[in-house]
């Protein structure tokens, strides 16, 4: 067992950091304030390989492990949480097409997606089906060589700005087995987008409701077989949860760096804040929890890479733990900054706003606990969860 990054991982990390420091960090506050989706910078990120991290090389991706991908995304998140989170969702949706699509679908969509020339959204949630995603009602009816889709999807990241929708749609019976995954070009006739929903954070990417009004989707665009959709959606989320957890870790790291500098420079009561033991201990706790969270995320990534039968359980534990720790660390870093932390001149309040949603999306942290406890209370050996 070796916890050190290998030579490649060091090179990937440094390259990602270099890009993030120069192209994300200086603009993140302006993107946040102006609700700007940095399309050109994401395209640039795509040209450097960040849009097809774990897609296989055969489709033009980099074929990296989830562990490598996490190491890379963490560095990007240090510069802009929200933009990196979008890129991570794009990676997830692109991987789903690459892994479950037929040759025609792969050839049609993957080259532009892995290079960031085109962008993808992941569409599972509906207004009536959130945590209980298996109850989704958007329906596709088979008519010859195509489906006709009707319904709507809620809270879709990137919607309106993305080109490809990977959508989970009911093609059969009720429940999770009646769901199929369809790849729908965003410019298909009958696809409509709501106005950009106003939200607490994640301002550098739009979130919209999507409506489908008699949208024709060729059968060839289906991922896997009919009825495989929910399983494919959950497979995507195993990686997605690791990615979102990673975005929390990177942001928390940035927050800790800020907090430490502030402790060493801000003076009150005649000495720097760093001389007060209450704050020293706070910093110690923050970094201890962050290191624990990072290791857990990397363990989960490793389990997905290994194809471990409990990979989903590790991903759920990592997502729950790292997004809770990430938010708390950012919040404490804000506290250390006092009133300055609350001001938009400093990034702390943005870190707090941006990491808050990580506890909610890609499965709420309550649902993560559900996944973990269900596994633990099942018949399977519990000591194999280590």
């Amino acid at each position: 067992m070796d916890f050190n990054l290998n030579e490649d991982q060091v090179a990937f990390r440094d390259a990602a950091r270099d890009f993030s420091d120069n192209e994300f960090a200086p603009h993140a506050a302006a993107w946040d304030a102006g609700h700007i989706f940095p399309r050109a910078v994401i395209r640039q990120a795509g040209a450097l390989g960040f849009c097809g991290l774990y897609c296989p090389e055969a489709v033009g991706g980099l074929g990296l492990s989830r562990l490598d991908s996490s190491i890379i995304l963490e560095q990007l998140a240090m510069g802009c949480t929200s933009t990196t989170a979008f890129i991570s969702i794009h990676n997830m949706a692109t991987w789903m097409i690459a892994d479950y699509g037929n040759d025609q679908t792969i050839v049609r969509f993957c080259p532009d997606l892995v290079s960031g020339k085109a962008l993808a959204s992941y569409c599972l949630t509906e207004s009536g089906a959130g945590s209980d995603a298996g109850s989704l009602r958007t329906r596709a009816v088979l008519e010859g060589d195509h489906y006709v889709v009707n319904g709507s999807k809620m809270f879709i990241s990137g919607a309106g700005a993305t080109d490809v929708l990977v959508a989970m749609i009911r093609t059969g019976e009720s429940g999770t087995r009646g769901i199929s995954a369809l790849v729908i070009p965003a410019d298909s006739a009958g696809v409509g987008f709501s106005a950009n929903l106003e939200k607490m954070g994640w301002h550098s990417q739009p979130t919209c409701e999507i409506t489908f009004d008699n949208v024709k989707v060729p059968v060839i665009n289906r991922l896997g077989e009919e009825g495989d959709g929910f399983r494919i959606a959950m497979k995507g989320l195993d990686g997605g949860r690791i990615n979102i957890a990673t975005c929390s870790i990177g942001t928390a790291q940035a927050a800790i760096c800020r907090a430490r500098d502030h402790l060493l420079s801000r003076e009150q009561f005649g000495s720097t804040l760093s001389s007060f033991q209450a704050l020293q201990f706070k910093l110690a706790d923050m970094v201890t929890e962050l290191v624990a969270a990072r290791q857990m995320v990397r363990l989960a990534a490793f389990k997905v890479d290994q194809g471990d039968t409990d990979a989903a359980v590790y991903a759920a534990m990592a997502k729950r733990f790292a997004t809770d720790v990430g938010f708390e660390v950012c919040n404490q870093a804000l506290q250390i900054h006092g009133g300055y932390g609350y001001m938009q001149e400093y990034p702390l309040e943005r870190y707090v706003r941006d990491t808050r949603v990580h506890q909610i999306l890609e499965g709420t942290n309550e649902i993560m606990r559900l996944i973990v406890s269900r596994r633990l209370l099942s018949d399977a050996d519990i000591e194999s969860i280590q």
Binding site: E7, D8, V10, A11, F12, D14, A15, D18, F19, N22, A47, L48, G49, F50, L53, L62, L64, I72
Partner: protein, 250 residues
């Protein structure tokens, strides 16, 4: 033509340098190291020459410990074709590095050598010039623009008074200034491809070069920390202090 680029492993420009408590040097333990920024510009310029079809091969050479392989890999990821590491644990000073580079120049016979105008650790700005003298080649230092001609290069140099344009016969040595170009980012696919590019390893002994340090460092000290300023109440007070305390106006 062949272009040889010199690349140095230095403490990353973002790191706050800490002097060792025994004043023998700076603390390099667990410190982030990277490619000297001026050398990154040198690599970029060389790679652009190859992309333009002016150069056929870009070779990157680094002198130092085996860890320098990391910086050579970075250079290969940025587009250099192959690497040379001259491995030594000796404290490498500009003259010793210049001698090693001279041996590599003799071996490789490049038409152009590009190096940074200085490395951000020692800030010596000597290696390129010494190499030019040792190898008997023309030099164009502090370059902010390079135009390749037939058997010669026209170089705009950053000098105290502004810019100076000179022509040097090839083979020649160029050292880079900040404005020469803006280096690209290493892409992830190129980082992966860089692994397959060859790196030859020599020792100074292999090259017949004596790298024993000639300059002895007596003591390394941090610069005096800046004293806290004061806020004056009025312009009169400011003028008074400038005149009577700082004595910078009369």
């Amino acid at each position: 033509m062949k272009v040889l680029v010199a690349a140095k492993r230095v403490v990353d420009y973002n790191v706050n340098i800490r002097v060792l408590s025994d004043n023998t040097g700076v603390d390099l333990n667990n410190v982030k190291m990277s490619l000297n920024p001026f050398d990154e510009i040198a690599i970029e310029e060389a790679v652009r020459l190859r992309e333009a079809g002016t150069a056929e091969e870009v070779i990157v050479v680094s002198v130092g410990t085996s860890a320098c392989q990391e910086q050579i890999r970075t250079a290969l990821a940025l587009g250099a074709d192959r690497g040379i590491l001259v491995e030594t644990d000796e404290d490498m000073q500009p003259l010793a590095i210049a001698k090693v580079l001279k041996a590599i120049v003799d071996k490789e016979q490049p038409s152009l050598v590009i190096a940074g105008k200085q490395a951000i650790d020692g800030d010596n700005s000597q290696t390129g010039q010494m190499l030019a003298a040792l190898a008997g080649l023309g030099q164009a230092t502090f370059a902010s623009q390079l135009v390749m001609g037939d058997g010669e290069a026209t170089v705009t140099r950053e000098v105290d008074g502004g810019a100076e344009t000179i022509t040097v016969k090839l083979p020649a040595i160029l050292t880079t200034d900040l404005r020469l170009n803006e280096p690209r980012y290493a892409s992830l696919p190129n980082i992966m491809k860089a692994k397959k590019k060859p790196i030859d390893v020599y020792t100074p002994e292999d090259l017949g070069v004596d790298v024993t340090p000639r300059v002895k460092t007596l003591k390394v000290e941090p610069p005096a920390s800046r004293k806290a300023g004061i806020i004056v109440e009025s312009v009169e007070e400011l003028v008074d202090k400038l005149r009577n305390e700082a004595k910078v106006i009369s």
